[in-house]
């Protein structure tokens, strides 16, 4: 029954986010606003290009990709950097450290509730809407299963990167700049704002070598693939798994160093 103490945090998170109905509604509205902006932006880009297919993607391909990326982003973004930074600045971290579990898991599971909520409140409706509106642009089949696995990897990689950046706040004692930088790097290089196919050759190659593309590009490419063959999907999943392991180990290491900073210098 070791899992129970984690699940209870998920449960608490769900109840907690249900207390703030207004913020959920505003999030959905803000999300729509962003999509409208993206729609016109990309329409202009395609109009300027003068062809139907840019970098191997049609307008509707791009749009579907972006809509789903945004939905994924809304559900996966954890703001762990903020949370760690705030906890350190306010000194609340002392109380979190006194819980009988590791801080890394405590924070993750405390968040998992809003995960579930955001999945239901933003990702699922968007996904269904996309499926209905595009009438079958999103293939239904085994890819959904691969996609689910891929998203779990994405969540872990995303959290581990967030956590690593968060621990840096321990040394700098400021959050804002670091967090903005992290957000820019992640959203750009992961393909959350611009599909990787639009990147210049060199940058795209570089992006493929970094862990960020495993967060958004990988699950979305799996989802949008028609008749995925295991031979296509498994390398992607394998790479994700690789980054999972690397980032988890790294974030553990980062924590080990920074916890010493807290315990030796008082944070």
């Amino acid at each position: 029954m070791n899992l129970k103490k984690y699940i209870t945090l998920t449960r608490a998170g769900i109840i907690e986010s249900l207390q703030f109905r207004l913020s959920t509604i505003i999030m959905v509205l803000g999300n729509m606003l962003y999509l409208i902006v993206a729609y016109y932006l990309w329409k202009a880009i395609y109009a300027a290009a003068g062809t139907d297919i840019v970098n191997g993607m049609t307008f509707s391909d791009t749009l579907i990709y972006l809509v789903l990326a945004t939905a994924l982003y809304n559900f996966m973004e954890m703001y762990a950097v903020w949370e760690i930074g705030r906890a350190i600045q306010s000194g609340k971290i002392v109380l979190d450290l006194l819980k009988p579990m590791e801080y890394r898991s405590y924070l993750f599971w405390s968040y998992s509730g809003s995960f579930v909520m955001n999945f239901i409140a933003t990702f699922l409706p968007t996904f269904i809407a996309v499926c209905i509106v595009t009438k079958g642009a999103v293939p239904f089949g085994i890819n959904l299963l691969f996609f689910a696995v891929s998203v779990i990897f994405s969540v872990i990689i995303n959290y581990s990167i967030d956590f690593m950046v968060g621990t840096i706040c321990l040394f700098t004692e400021s959050i804002w700049g670091i967090n903005i930088m992290k957000q820019m790097v992640v959203t750009l290089l992961s393909g959350a704002t611009i599909p990787l196919a639009f990147f210049p050759e060199a940058l795209r190659k570089a992006a493929y070598c970094l862990p960020f593309q495993s967060i958004y590009h990988a699950p979305l490419s799996i989802l949008l693939q028609r008749n995925p063959q295991p031979a296509d999907v498994l390398p992607v999943l394998g790479l994700q798994l690789f980054w999972c392991v690397v980032t988890v180990v790294l974030s553990k290491l980062f924590w080990k160093v920074s916890i010493r900073q807290i315990t030796v210098n008082g944070g």
């Binding site: 103490k5 907690e16 207390q19 006194l98």
Partner: protein, 333 residues
């Protein structure tokens, strides 16, 4: 009886950057390696037995919170040994956390947006409290305080007093061996303070929980602690019974007088008459601090009556507060 907390020659040093003044100074500080070592806790040793309530006192910045943080495992001592319930706190922080409860007066560990009962349920799962123990504890709480109205109230809507009360209940929920209370009555009104003291006392008695209490309120100390430990500037000044403390400082009593005529003038005259006593005056009273070992209060009174017309008088025993104030100001001689 067994030792719950053992601290041996514990020292904690912090490295602090020497900050310079002004814009220029701040810019230079960016590249400065000019650190100084601040010793927050200096060679402290003590042993606390199971079931004791120890008042841990000292002026602001004395090193109380640092010591508490070391005992809870959030800070690692620079040197010395700490054992809490058999664990080395900073090394086995997670294991140690299972056996201790902590309340910081200014913060809450409860889930801000949720009703108290939900926080309790979460803590129940996190600390893996069995259903039977949990029910028993809630029953005990119900017999001690009126928690029904609190249970279904979101923590953010609670008054400070209710929140502190809830935090204390949360800290005791998993029946820890030791509870650390860091200024639990800070900012509370008189009746809430009394309620919280009764609660702590009852929980200590029923569960034989060891309690370490830091406070600035001598009411807390008088109501709860038999033993007190006083530190200042990181050094231990005193570790013994409260009673002993008073004797240790001589048997002082304060004689308060109202004398006809201008008070400050009279006070000077009184001081001249009684060179062995400390005399002070405020708007209403002339206070004479008498050390009973040097001269008796009755003797002082007769002497005064011969020279002045006394309109009114009061006799006050010296309070713990006065003694502690004296220690903070002068240290132990």
């Amino acid at each position: 009886m067994s030792a719950m907390i053992e601290i041996k020659n514990v020292t904690k040093e912090f490295k602090v950057l020497n900050r310079r003044e002004g814009l220029k100074g701040s810019l230079k500080d960016l590249f400065s390696r000019n650190y100084k070592i601040v010793r927050a806790v200096d060679q402290i040793s003590m042993t606390v037995e199971q079931g004791e309530i120890v008042g841990y006192l000292g002026p602001n910045g004395a090193g109380k919170s640092t010591t508490i943080k070391m005992m809870t495992g959030v800070l690692e001592p620079t040197s010395g040994e700490i054992l809490v319930g058999g664990n080395v706190p900073y090394r086995d922080r997670t294991k140690n956390a299972q056996e201790i409860g902590v309340v910081f007066g200014q913060r809450t560990q409860l889930w801000w947006a949720l009703p108290l009962i939900e926080s309790f349920k979460i803590l129940k799962d996190i600390y893996r409290i069995s259903d039977a123990d949990y029910d028993e504890m809630l029953k005990l709480y119900q017999s001690l305080v009126d928690i029904e109205p609190l249970l279904h109230k979101p923590v953010r809507q609670m008054s400070l007093g209710q929140r502190t009360l809830s935090d204390i209940l949360a800290a005791f929920l998993h029946n820890p061996k030791i509870v650390f209370l860091d200024e639990p009555t800070i900012g509370l009104d008189v009746s809430m303070k009394a309620k919280i003291r009764t609660l702590i006392h009852a929980l200590n008695e029923k569960k034989h929980t060891t309690v370490i209490l830091t406070t600035h309120d001598m009411g807390d100390v008088d109501a709860l602690c038999r033993r007190i430990v006083i530190i200042d500037k990181g050094k231990m000044l005193y570790d013994n019974d409260v009673e002993h403390l008073k004797r240790f400082f001589g048997s002082y009593r304060t004689l308060k007088l109202r004398i006809a005529g201008d008070l400050s003038e009279r006070a000077e005259a009184v001081a001249k008459l009684l060179p062995e006593c400390t005399v002070s005056a405020d708007d209403e009273w002339i206070s004479v601090l008498v050390d009973e070992e040097k001269c008796k209060v009755m003797h002082v009174l007769t002497q005064l009556q011969q020279s002045f017309r006394i309109r009114d008088m009061q006799l006050e025993e010296i309070s713990t507060e006065d003694v502690i104030k004296k220690i903070y100001e002068e240290g132990v001689k």
